[in-house]
Amino acid sequence: MIRENSWVRCGLFAAAALAAVGLAPAPVVAQEFYGTLAKIDEAGEIVIGHRETSIPFSWIESDGEPRGYSVDLCLKIADAVKEMLGKPNLGIRFVPVTPQTRIPLLANGTIDIECGSTTNKLSRQEQVAYLPVTFITGTKLLVKSGSGVETLDDLSGKRIALAQGTTNERVIKAAIEAGGLDVDVLNVKDHAEGFLSLETDRVDAYSTDHILLYGLITRARDPENYEVVGDFLSYDPYAIMVRRDDSAFQLLGTRVLADLFRSGEIRDIYAKWFQPFPTSADVSEPPTELLEAAWQLNALPE
């Protein structure tokens, strides 16, 4: 169970009281909202940015409905926003983003919160802010089984696909440069296109965060033909992105996550998407010790 915060309880009580006397919904807490909360209040909807191919964090099937671990977490945050604004019927709108569009669209107000598979990086914090870490991964390589490629060095004289705008792109490009390797790079738009390039033999490897590579394999027609190889080439802590300089909204999100971490509800949500992956019963990824530690560290007391 989530332990309710005083303001949540107060909000629920007030909402119930209002409903009981049949009043039109009005802001429960008489306070001036600012930033994102004010924007959501005014627009009557919260706009969630989601990814299209980040399995199992945030992706869509052919019905077009976004789903995944990060999306579930954002829906929890949206619930908290509804309570805070006293608007139970607040709209939720989903807007698809890509690695290239997510930061500009958040910064320019098109989306209010980004729920995908985004690494919390200091250089990005010059533009956006992050909620606590929700997953920890790192860069690895996806290759076809039996290709003999184990490390980046083995790709000498071969081609690798990289998604533009990802941390992996920079890590791999930097490693290629640092090692003086002769690796040709194909720029692709997103993970699906990268996987496709590998599947159709356009490239010899695709590189992104290891967990996303597992997700991609689960969607392959012949999963046994692919393998994830190599050591972690980077440290990628995932976090939900919110606008910068908006501590009220950031606090609301942090509080929702801290509650989930503290109550242990996060484990259920995690298990729903990772144990096993919804896209394949054969692939399961229990939380790592590092991730457990991250949850504990961020289970801040009320």
């Binding site: 930061i103 500009p104 533009q164 705008g165 496709l196 159709t200 033999d201 356009r202």
Partner: protein
């Protein structure tokens, strides 16, 4: 608006280098595609005016097919679909051993597409010449080949210089679609600079200015051609 202007970023390495290489790719894609577009477009355009019914039919089908499908879809078909429809060895060759596969695909896609538009200009150029000239040509014993070679084409190509100029400009603009299949041309580079530096205004302004410069240069160059090609007494159609 909270925005930290920093025009200096455009002059820093590697970003300056990216912009320059972007301009280079834009010019490389556009000019190579133009060679295909002009050659193929002239052939198809002429074929549309030939007396031979089959030649006309094939040429018309080509023009209608390529004009009525968005360029983006055509690029995806060249890039994603065609190699898979080829026999395995060939497909693999196209994807791996073909030099600069993305660039080559973009050039072919853009070239074939623009050829359909050039063909229409060539056809209208030929049709703008009065029928009397053809008849006179035939009457004086010219073959169809000679008629086109000595009578129709010299006039037609001079008449269509202005509309061809605008097609030539369009090919530069359309070359930006090459970014969708991974060619890092000017628009792609300006976006990449935005990703690395978050200086979107500066990067996109730089790209915008460069496109305007390309347009002005091409327009100035072509107006010289136009002046030399102009035939007294003829008013070019279209443009």
């Amino acid at each position: 608006m909270q925005y930290n202007w920093n025009w200096g970023v455009l002059l820093q390495e590697p970003y300056l280098g990216w912009l320059i290489s972007g301009v280079g790719w834009t010019i490389a894609v556009a000019s190579a595609a133009w060679v295909i577009a002009f050659t193929l477009g002239s052939v198809v355009g002429v074929a549309r005016t030939l007396p031979n019914r089959w030649a006309r039919g094939v040429a018309t089908a080509y023009v209608e097919l390529l004009r009525n499908v968005p360029l983006l879809v055509q690029l995806f078909i060249w890039y994603f679909v065609v190699p898979e429809l080829l026999p395995d060895d060939w497909g693999r060759w196209v994807k791996r051993d073909l030099p600069l596969p993305e660039y080559t695909t973009a050039v072919i896609g853009l070239g074939f597409y623009t050829a359909s538009r050039v063909a229409e200009q060539v056809r209208s150029g030929i049709e703008s010449i009065s029928r009397g000239q053809s008849m006179a040509g035939y009457a004086s014993g010219l073959t169809t080949l000679q008629l086109y070679r000595y009578v129709l084409l010299p006039v037609a190509f001079r008449v269509i210089v202005p509309p061809l100029t605008s097609e030539f400009l369009t090919i530069f603009k359309n070359s930006s679609l090459a970014l969708t299949i991974g060619v890092l041309e000017l628009t792609a580079q300006s976006r990449q600079i935005t990703e690395y530096t978050f200086q979107g205004f500066e990067a996109f302004t730089a790209a915008t200015v460069m496109y305007v410069v390309i347009t002005l240069t091409v327009t100035a160059g072509m107006s010289l051609v136009e002046r030399r090609a102009r035939i007294p007494g003829f008013i070019a159609k279209g443009g």
